[in-house]
């Protein structure tokens, strides 16, 4: 270490706030904005102001499940949707060939514009103070968190604190044999905060993630790659963004597809001993869903190539992100690896990829509101909770921000349920199951995927955003109008009939179906696979008012897939019954003798609130649940006996 480092010993009293947010990444930005917009005086502290909402990894937002989370954040009154709608360079809807539940919007972001836009929004938000500073410690009295202490000696007091430290928490970058303490992208790490959290009794873990090298776009031979342009049809993440604001596809930037080959793989296999992943230097646990290229080549040895996406990092830069080539190989090997790839034979590497290890809080130590069980008034969100991904971070950020804001106002917190939002699935998974690797949302994690659609995120969550004070009157009115239009039209289609006639029967026969003899309900007709809403309205009277494309989309989905939606709703009903079986907060599991030891330990550690939550803990078997239910029931009987 350098000799010029001194430690500030003298502390001073800074201002008091309602809410303090530590870290201004994707979680911290949402948390601070939510708290401030709810009317709380809020302080947002970050190590480097030039890294607010910075994207240290892939320059993109959205995708399956993740894109839905962005819409959920937007519906709750968050910023991510607005921010990406203002700064994207390409927009695509994925999974269009599949059903409505899995359609997924993804945007390529201009990473610098994204950061600048978010910083500007934060700066212009009333009640919100953005300040550069490294938080070293918390102010804790009697198990209650009362504020934070920075490395410059400032003591800020607050009614609630949200920690979103990300990979800065005792971050360590690894590139081949080289290792050094660092936050993301060579920023200053936060070396003290999590160390102190450990002293307060938190159980910490080391996780690992990584990023690929960047190359200069001027040195890519695009002719050897396949172009992936954006969509022509307008899309947006935010409810507030108009179709007319959509960027013409010609103004969007393309991504480029290429592949690794045997040469790349041989090079990797021959140098495995030089990567910290394989020589044992990395202790952190990495994600299975986003493996390094070393991992892919070793684990899937029979594959002779892997996809590589070349993604522009923005309009005002020539840097390209080499997606799928995440690596912790030594720099010289990385450059050679890049050169084995078609289109990149002469590419100049601008930054090497790296692996980064960091501290996370084992999330079983959180309540469903993301308040910690150990310290009252302390909330955590984002990578600190063991997740991965900007969207997962933003979802947790607004959730923790709302709950911290409500705490500061002396109001009870909100809990999003698994059937209400992907954010609810994520929160419940984290606090119930914990995670052994950086957690990524997948649509397959949701039992009720069909209910958690991208198209209905606003319908699901705007009322909650409104309730906590994050939805303006103007937007609320627009939302209610949309909701009513959908309901009215669904109702209308259940009463209007399609009558047999030449036009309709020609249409039907063209699709190889039998012509109509009698009239049929419009809703029933719409369920035929070859009928869309737009074809249907040719055969029935027009709606009283012209309908917007989002209303039509919703009406169509609700009608076409009503059978499946009903099934999912029945599942939710069953779940709610189990959710209604509350477990007393003061339960002593030692007293429930018949529970198996493993289950008892898990229950003691996680302390689920309902039988439903307990049933999702791995290692808790049906017999344990039966015993637990009987025990609780017995307690209730005993109480009524008294």
């Amino acid at each position: 270490m350098s000799e010029n480092i001194s430690e500030v010993k003298k502390r001073y009293r800074g201002e008091d706030y309602d809410v303090i947010v530590v870290g201004a990444g994707h979680a911290g930005s949402e948390a601070a904005l939510a708290a401030a917009r709810m009317g709380n005086r809020t302080l947002l502290l970050t190590i480097n102001l030039d890294m607010v909402a910075f994207m240290p990894c892939n320059p993109s937002v959205g995708g399956p499940a993740k894109g839905t989370v962005v819409r959920e954040v937007d519906a709750l009154g968050g910023e991510m949707g607005h921010n990406i709608d203002k700064t994207y360079i390409q927009m695509r809807m994925l999974n269009t060939g599949k059903g409505p539940a899995v359609r997924a919007l993804r945007a390529q972001a201009d990473k610098h514009a994204y950061h600048r836009q978010m910083k500007l929004t934060i700066e212009n938000t009333p009640n919100l103070t953005l300040r550069q500073g490294i938080v070293d410690d918390l102010i804790v009295e009697d198990g209650v968190c009362k504020g934070v202490v920075t490395n410059t000696g400032a003591e800020y007091h607050a009614k609630a604190v949200v920690v979103c430290a990300g990979t800065a928490a005792r971050g360590k970058i690894l590139i081949g044999e080289l290792q050094y303490s660092s936050g993301p992208n060579n920023s200053i790490p936060a070396m003290e905060l999590t160390k102190n959290l450990k002293d307060y009794g938190f159980h910490l873990r080391r996780f690992k993630t990584g990023t690929p090298p960047r190359v200069n776009g001027n040195t890519i031979d695009y002719d050897q790659t396949k172009e992936q342009p954006g969509d022509k049809t307008p899309h947006a993440f935010s409810f507030d963004t108009k179709d007319s604001d959509y960027l013409d596809v010609k103004k969007q930037l393309s991504c480029w597809l290429t592949y690794t080959n045997q040469k790349t793989h041989d090079l990797i296999l021959n140098n495995l001993d030089r990567t910290p992943m394989y020589n044992g230097e990395i202790q952190g646990v990495g994600p299975r869903y986003c493996p390094s290229i070393e991992d892919k080549v070793v684990r899937f040895a029979d594959k002779d190539h892997h996809q590589i996406f070349l993604e522009p990092e923005g309009r005002d830069t020539s840097e390209y992100y080499v997606d799928e080539l995440s690596t912790s190989m030594p720099e010289e090997i990385q450059q050679k690896m890049v050169h084995t790839i078609k289109g990149l034979q002469h590419a100049k590497m601008m930054r090497p990829g790296y692996a980064i290890e960091y501290d996370v809080i084992d999330p079983y130590q959180l309540k469903p509101t993301f308040e910690t069980k150990i310290l009252k008034n302390l909330f955590t969100a984002g990578q600190t909770n063991g997740t991965s991904g900007y969207e997962e971070a933003a979802g947790q950020g607004i959730y923790a921000g709302i709950n911290a804001g409500l705490r500061a106002q002396g109001k009870p917190g909100i809990v999003l349920k698994r059937n209400e939002a992907y954010i609810g699935v994520l929160a419940d998974d984290l606090v119930t199951k914990g995670t052994n690797e950086p957690y990524r949302l997948l649509t397959s994690r949701a039992e009720y995927r069909l209910l958690l659609r991208t198209d209905n995120a606003d319908l699901r969550l705007t009322p909650i955003g409104r309730k906590v004070g994050l939805i303006s009157d103007e937007r609320w009115a627009r939302f209610q109008a949309k909701r009513k239009a959908i309901e009215d039209e669904v109702k209308r289609l259940n009463s209007v009939r399609v009558k047999p006639g030449k036009e309709v029967n020609d249409f039907i026969q063209k699709h190889g179906d039998k012509p109509l003899k009698d009239g049929v309900l419009a809703s029933v007709f719409l369920r035929r696979p070859y009928v869309t809403y737009r074809t249907l309205i040719k055969f029935i009277p027009a709606a009283p008012k012209p309908l917007g494309s989002h209303v039509i989309e919703e009406v169509e989905i609700r009608t076409k897939y009503s059978g499946y939606i009903k099934k999912a709703e029945q599942g939710v009903k069953r779940l709610k019954k189990l959710e209604a079986k509350k477990i007393p907060e003061d339960i002593d599991y030692e007293d429930v003798k018949e529970i198996a030891t493993e289950a008892r330990q898990k229950l003691e550690k996680i302390r689920p609130r309902t039988i439903a939550q307990a049933s999702r803990i791995s290692g808790v078997n049906p017999s344990d649940l039966a015993v637990l239910s009987v025990y609780i029931q017995r307690g209730k009987i005993a109480k009524t006996d008294d």
């Binding site: 539940a101 986003c290 493996p291 892919k296 594959k303 892997h306 997606d323 791995s618």
Partner: protein, 463 residues
């Protein structure tokens, strides 16, 4: 507060009857307290777990008089069948003695166990999984070797194994669908089409249907094939009954006071358990005039899976014979034409015409060896559908399993219906997943992230 869920229970755990040794089993927190009160011998506090100890059972309420000379097994929790403290009293097998000992146990701190309660505790205390515990119940209830085998197979996990295999097949398909959804740009996973789902759904459904076919046979193996013997007086019904009840075939005799219907008796015919209905009706008649009338026959025919109709070849067919033939026309029936050694007075051709040659047996003297033909016929009748040829000899014998298999099969029907209606693959797979869940309920497997593990082990995922 005393609960009914986990107090100390006791029961006679050997089958009722005059066996050599009977066992009274006690399980629960107070098992040792109870035995110490009623046992004279070693200090049971000091004996090791899993030991058998000689001594006497005494009755504290009768001046500590000795009741029986016994061997007492001491098994300490948790390594016992129920995971509770367990005591087994091996006593001399007589019904009177065994019952007396049970009474003494019950009046000294234990309560009578419900049927299957030991097993229920083994399950509730996490000793065995759901399908295993059900198998134990079946084993206890099993009435012949064949049904014992079915239960044992299940206990070994044969059914579990088969179901798990089906689930794994579904899981692989599901994982593929999921990867298509969550990684739409990942080009290495085969794009699952509804066509592929359709063929998998058909395949799994065929397996489930085959399992369900065994369910009917399974039920018979569990409950016995309800069989009634009918015929007018003096045609040889009681001879037939006595032959069937030949000592070595009788499995269970009726003891008044047990839960079994006194009017039923079980016999083992080549592995098929016959539950003989209304044997008392035949027995009653033995020393009196046989008075089992048509009305009474009607009743037993109604509740039978199989009717054995006895006719007398040495006498012409009577109206009553004709009535009985008519009554049994719609039942599974075997007609026994008895006493063919005497001058035949019936019109055999007419009988053949009436009842069909296939189901007719002629016998000279059912009394001695005539049952062999009958036994062959019964065995053929039952095993006709190839009971031995089912998958791994797995037989579904449990009502809960049957109902879940039906649900799983219905879910597959929904898969096919959805495909037919042109639904996209991610919706169709909702029903595929339901099928997978129902099958999981049979083995008691719950969702523990299996699907995700499959996803990550099967595919090399990125973006």
């Amino acid at each position: 507060m005393e609960t009914t869920q986990f107090d100390t229970i006791a029961a006679i755990s050997t089958p009722p009857g005059e066996g050599g040794i009977s066992i009274v089993r006690i399980s629960g927190e107070y098992a040792f307290k109870v035995i110490k009160k009623i046992y004279r011998g070693k200090n049971l506090d000091k004996v090791a777990s899993d030991t058998i100890n000689y001594g006497h059972i005494i009755d504290p309420k009768d001046h500590n008089s000795e009741v029986d000379e016994v061997m007492v097994s001491i098994m300490r929790a948790p390594k016992t069948y129920t995971r509770e403290d367990v005591v087994e009293i091996n006593c001399h097998g007589g019904l009177v003695i065994t019952n007396r000992i049970l009474q003494i146990v019950l009046s000294n701190g234990a309560r009578m166990a419900h049927p299957g309660e030991f097993t229920e505790r083994a399950f509730l205390n996490g000793r065995i999984d759901l399908s295993q515990s059900e198998a134990v119940m079946d084993l206890i209830e099993a009435k012949t070797d064949q049904s014992m085998k079915a239960a044992l197979n299940q206990l070994d996990g044969n059914l579990s194994h088969l179901i798990k295999n089906l689930r794994h097949q579904i899981l692989k398909v599901l994982a593929n669908v999921e990867v298509n959804i969550d990684y739409p740009e990942y080009d290495d996973a085969e794009t699952m089409t509804t066509k592929m789902l359709l063929s998998k759904a058909r395949e799994v459904k065929a397996s489930i249907q085959q399992l369900l076919k065994t369910a009917k046979q399974g039920k018979i193996l569990r409950n016995g094939l309800a069989t009634s013997i009918v015929g007018r007086p003096n045609v040889g019904k009681s001879s037939l009954l006595n032959n069937l009840l030949h000592e070595d075939k009788a499995i269970v005799t009726n003891i008044p006071g047990t839960t079994r219907d006194v009017l039923e008796e079980y016999v083992n015919v080549r592995g098929v358990p016959l539950k003989l209905i209304d044997t008392a009706g035949i027995r009653d008649a033995k020393n009196q005039i046989e008075k089992m009338g048509v009305d009474r026959s009607k009743k037993s025919i109604k509740s039978s899976d199989l009717v054995l109709l006895v006719l007398n070849a040495s006498e012409p067919l009577t109206d009553e014979d004709m009535k009985l033939i008519k009554l049994t026309d719609h039942s599974k029936r075997i007609v026994i034409l008895n006493k063919t050694d005497l001058p035949i007075k019936v019109d055999v051709d007419k009988i053949k015409q009436l009842v069909g040659e296939k189901d007719l047996i002629t016998t000279a003297a059912i009394k001695s060896n005539g049952t062999e033909k009958l036994e062959n016929k019964i065995a053929n009748l039952f095993f006709d559908q190839g009971i031995e040829s089912t998958q791994n000899n797995v037989m579904v014998t449990n009502a809960r399993h049957v109902s879940l298999l039906h649900k799983a099969s219905d879910a597959l029907d929904d898969v096919m219906k959805g495909i037919h209606e042109g639904m996209p693959v991610d919706l169709v797979q909702i029903d595929m997943k339901r099928c997978w869940k129902y099958l999981g309920e049979i083995t008691g497997d719950t969702y523990t992230g299996e699907l995700l593990d499959q996803l990550f082990s099967q595919f090399c995922l990125g973006k």
